[in-house]
């Protein structure tokens, strides 16, 4: 079953006279439980693609169907609410609210969704355990390493029980052992909880772990391989 279907996605940025085709007619589907890497050189459109999938950005043409709902047609406040309930995001950096502890960051999303206090507490502790940060629950982002911060970000993305998680170069700022650690955790979650991950990267070691690799170039799909 397809979680995401895109049809003829185009995104044209205009910088004065110059028009940039950041996405050029991208039609592609993602299934439940995928572990997919979006690769391609810098400027190939990876970020634009992920932002469009997550409804952060509206395509110039085309549709993004999530469980058969066209999110490009949703109004601004509706889409925020939709994201809150269906899509988990992990960015390259600045993922966490700096003034909240690791645990509070995770609970925050659930609070927005209206979970009870007990549920929030229980799930936050479970998730911290899943990303191996039980001991760091009371630390604020500033007191965590880059790798730890990204793991909290993954835990937070999971907290809302999304349909899939979009991660834009989640390992770009991490050293190799942190990168491996984060990928292990993501891989485990994918295997055990069937969580769908779609992440962009240009790190070969990350690409090697993916089950499907989609290569973008100049906003077009160059290849789509299942390994």
């Amino acid at each position: 079953m397809n979680v995401i279907e895109t049809k003829n996605l185009k995104k044209i940025y205009s910088q004065g006279e110059i028009k940039v085709n950041a996405l050029n007619d991208v039609s592609i589907n993602f299934k439940q439980g995928e572990f997919t890497a979006i690769v391609g050189p810098s400027g190939s459109g990876k970020t634009t693609f992920l932002n469009t999938l997550g409804g952060l950005d509206k395509p110039t043409f085309g549709n993004v169907m999530i469980d058969n709902l066209d999110i490009t047609k949703l109004k601004a406040n509706k889409i925020i609410d939709f994201r809150l309930r269906n899509i988990g995001f992990v960015f390259q950096s600045y993922n966490l609210i700096p003034v909240l502890t690791a645990k509070e960051n995770i609970e925050f999303i659930m609070l927005m969704q209206g979970y009870s206090k007990e549920k929030r507490n229980k799930r936050a502790l479970e998730l911290l355990d899943a990303v191996g940060l039980s001991k760091e629950s009371k630390r604020r982002p500033g007191q965590l390493s880059g790798g730890q911060q990204q793991r909290v970000a993954v835990a937070r993305a999971l907290a809302s029980k999304p349909k899939f998680i979009l991660a834009d170069e989640p390992t770009a700022n991490l050293d190799s052992s942190s990168t491996k650690n984060l990928l292990d955790i993501m891989y485990d979650l994918n295997r055990k909880e069937k969580m769908t991950f779609i992440f962009s990267t240009h790190d070969q070691r990350v690409i090697d772990r993916a089950k499907r690799v989609i290569t973008l170039e100049d906003g077009k799909i160059l290849s789509d391989k299942i390994t």
Binding site: N51, L56, F89, F91, Y94, I97, S160
Partner: protein, 406 residues
Amino acid sequence: MRQIIKIAWRNVWRNKLRSFIVIASMILGLWSGLFSASMMSALNNQRINSAIKSQLSHLQIHHPSFQDNYDIKYQINSLNEVLEALDENKKVASYSSRIVLSGMASTARGATGVKLIGADHINEKNITDIHSHIVKGTYFSGSTSRQAVIGQELAEKLKLDIKKSIYLTFVNENGLQERLKLKVVGIFKSGNSMFDGSHMFAKKDYLDKIFGKKDIIHEVALVSNDINQVKELKDELLVAFPDNEIELWSEISPELGYANEMLSFFLYIFMTIILIALSFGIINTMLMAVLERKRELGVLMSVGLNKSKIFLMIAFETLFISIVSVPLGVLISYITISYFGDVGIDLSIVEEGLEQFGMGARLYTELYLDYYINITLLTFLLTFISSLFPARRALKLEPAVAVRSI
């Protein structure tokens, strides 16, 4: 909501130095505004109090026509009933019944228009404080009857000194000119040179003897136990004695009452200007705080914080700054104003200039509770308005753009 408030509160303390500077400037601004207001208010009150004590008293009763041109025949109507009513009224602390003669004071060296107040000089001490402002001689003494106590400016104009004679020419009840000869026994300086240049006091017994009767009274000046009751007292007396003119100090000297109203209006304008300037500082700082957190706000929007929550968060951050600084600023102002209200501020450097307006050399700062409360409310109102600008700016951020920008 509670979570948003919690985050906003913690955000305020992220950049401690910056928040501290904004808070300190708010406190300083509030303090300097309130303190200057208290000085202005004190100057004004001092002027009013000195006028009340040396000339106006709280309330005066006259014949309705007397003050038109001080005609000697316009004496208080139903005098005995009036005095009886005053004796019985608990709001009245004391009163003095006076003969007031308007005329020409002269010596061999010159002449000038004056008002002679003839009162029981012992009782008069309860009403006016002229007796404590004698700079030369005494405030009446012994039993000689032709004594006069005159203002310093008047003495200078007429080149008078104590033990010298002064003549007062006035029009008597029959419309004829009459002349009194008095001897200066004391010279006073009330602090208001205009008053001191045109007033003199004499013993009432002596004037009674001249007129041959005791019940010529043009003016009753009274002091109440509580100046706030005077308006009520006036209304009571007006009901009982509608055929007399009964005036509050602010009506006798409308320019003083008017100055009082103007001042409180002016003080609000003054404070509003200071507060608006402070608000600009807050807006500027908070706009900076929003713009440098673009990326973070973008992430918040991406993970499900909707616009109204972002708006609230930024608005609360701004409000918290004033919630911290306003009570501190008001408290510090209150403490310093109370302190200088007790010990006073030495104004001797500028004393000469102030004196002719009836102001003393020491200033005791004071500020009404109303003013504190209104300024506090006004500050919150203005910071609330200021908080809307940065919050609105945050709303304009597009998550896709915000997450890209570093």
